[in-house]
Symmetry: C2
Subunit: 385 residues, 2 copies
């Protein structure tokens, strides 16, 4: 605790550097005078820090616009954050598709790519597909692989802190796969693996339907459903990384799977066959009686599972994603059910990011990692607790 | 953020004071030299801070033991934290009982009292009962009312941040009651109201079955069941203070109440009649077939609800409390059920504090409040995030 009050010069430099970088990223090409005002630091400190950041390639003197340059006298130097000093990838590895997003250090997306993959593909084939989409996105955006600072990955299953998939019933060969380590071989930067529903929750909070709330539950509806939750703006992973695994909730005391609920015949749908599900939803939209009953059965189950999550966690907002199409029918019964049991029922809304949610969240996970290093203040404060 | 690096002298004084006080409380009558070493602060700083703490009555020079005093030369002055400089109350207001604990500023319990109360008692009568137990405990311990620094209260229901009970079905007249404000009239210190299951979770973490875990779910079994959870050592109240209200979970899709489940006849037990429940449990222990079936039905329901909480939150440990007697039968089926659905099933254990859990947690809530003021470092770090 003495360090709180004593002088640790390297910590101080790091904090000052983070404060200046943070201000630089928020302001429009500030001058040193601007930065001194914004940060409350002394002029010599700001000068020293900016010099260091320029050397590190994170900050550059910004070229003045034509009109401004011609004003009388020598204009004060202006600086800007070099978002192009590094890049990030957000990767979704799903049962039917892999998708990749790329951004600069400011998190703005500058490229994207995706390819379908068979739900029966082996882990090796699936990872090959990932590598080829990544290579394609890097080529098209002209970003060098060496410019990557962090890679985020969202994938179904319970993920260990080291990036190993502890369990995933949705993807063949996924359980036990050291996913982070396998992908690390393709990159020289950290690879961070996150459960897909968790990643989607982060994404909706970052730039989707949950921008205004810090306490949310995101439900990834599907044949292998899951949920992710933020508490006070932070991801709640649970002690073993298994929080929100409502797939298992489906089994509690009832043996009926989503494939059975959604069947229009006596036989359940083929396991994890999303195409068959899409057909049932399409039929229901056309008014087919059997299909409507099937969708109703599924919705009823979803409502029950979401209600259990809401009672346990008491979020401000529930975001329903996953099957973007067909699920709007679940909102009304969900709201009714929740208002029956909750005193202050959460708002319920559909995902805004749709099928981009998981990759977007994976990108945010990568960005968080890089920002923790660049803007070390938060990390410092956390370590201090 | 400038404040991080700039010099705010009053903040610095406060932090130094907290650091010294914290060290004083942890050490055995340290000398100024000890404190200088422990805190890493300068000798003049430590002297100034200790002087201020002595003036504030929080620290006193400790009288040396006989042998020590007679050693040659003048011994260095030693100091100790004055736990007796203030007192705290932890109050449980339940359906059938009110209980009060009292401690010094170190949280060590120095007195206790309790009285039964009818489950049909009005809010006014129940509060009168609380006041009389408090007066009795203060009298017996010789603590002046003016010495109280904070009062914690644990009670069934959803509690607002201001101490108003938003909903409580267990206690007549409790819904809408400004409980904190009503009790504040009897005290000149802050009164903090917490949900009973939340308080019990805090208590088991503090000095009960959950001392070794920061991620726990505490289940308060009963006719009006509830749950409280700690995530990373902090109480998770939920956005609207309703997290863990599994009483409502009982209703999801099923209309059967605990009173019906536990009945040995065609008629449900009288509402909230814990005495009738105790009789059913006693009969079951004697091997009565109807009673055993009734207890099994209740246990099955409890297992389902706890499993739902566990899937949502993924705790390290589940503590079952409330009905201390009779519930040991729930541990085995609960463990079996959880290991079926959880990859890393949480440990499951019975409450260690039993019927003292709620009042003990209420005391800890009061202690947290006082410590936040005394040891301001944590509060400061939190505000800084």
């Amino acid at each position: 605790m003495g360090r709180l009050t004593g002088g640790d010069p390297s910590l101080l430099r790091r904090i000052n550097s983070a404060v200046v970088l943070h201000s630089l990223r928020g302001a429009q090409s500030p001058t040193l005078t601007d930065l001194t005002r914004i940060t409350g630091l002394s002029r010599p400190t700001v000068e020293g820090v900016v010099e260091g950041l320029v050397e590190a390639g994170l900050v550059v003197e910004s070229v003045p616009e034509e009109g401004e340059a011609r004003r009388q006298g020598r204009p004060a130097r202006r600086y800007r954050f070099r978002a192009e000093a590094g890049h990030l990838l957000g990767i979704e590895i799903g049962a039917h598709r892999v998708a990749v997003l790329i951004s600069g250090l400011d998190g703005r997306i500058i490229g994207a790519g995706s390819r379908d993959v068979s739900e029966t593909a082996s882990a090796d084939d699936r990872l090959d597909r990932v590598r080829s989409v990544v290579a394609d996105v890097l080529r098209r955006t002209g970003v060098a692989r060496s410019s990557l600072r962090a890679v985020g990955v969202g994938s179904p299953g319970i993920v260990e802190a080291d990036g190993t998939v502890r369990l995933s019933t949705a993807l063949p060969g996924w359980t036990g796969l050291p996913l982070g380590e396998r992908l690390s071989r393709s990159f020289r930067c950290p690879v961070l693996v996150e459960n897909d529903a968790n990643a989607a929750a982060v994404a909706e909070h970052w730039k989707g339907a949950a921008r205004d709330s810090d306490d949310i539950v995101f439900v990834l509806a599907g044949l292998s459903p899951g949920a992710g939750s933020l508490i006070g703006g932070r991801l709640h992973r649970g002690f073993g990384g298994a929080a929100g695994e409502i797939g298992a909730l489906h089994l509690l005391g009832r043996e009926v799977t989503p494939e059975t609920l959604l069947s229009t015949t006596d036989e359940p749908l083929p396991p994890l066959d999303e195409q068959a599900v899409a057909e049932v939803f399409a039929l229901a939209r056309e008014g087919d009686e059997q299909a409507c009953k099937a969708v109703d059965r599924y919705n009823q189950r979803l409502v029950h599972d979401v209600a259990a999550l809401v009672l346990a966690l008491d979020p401000e907002l529930v975001v329903i994603g996953g099957w973007a199409a067909g699920l709007d029918g679940v909102l009304a019964p969900l709201r009714t059910e929740l208002s029956r049991y909750c005193l202050r029922p959460p708002q319920v809304t559909l995902s805004m990011l749709g099928e981009a949610a998981v990759a977007t969240g994976a990108l945010r996970v990568a960005l968080d990692h890089v920002e923790e290093q660049l803007f070390a203040v938060e990390g410092t404060a956390t370590a201090r607790r």
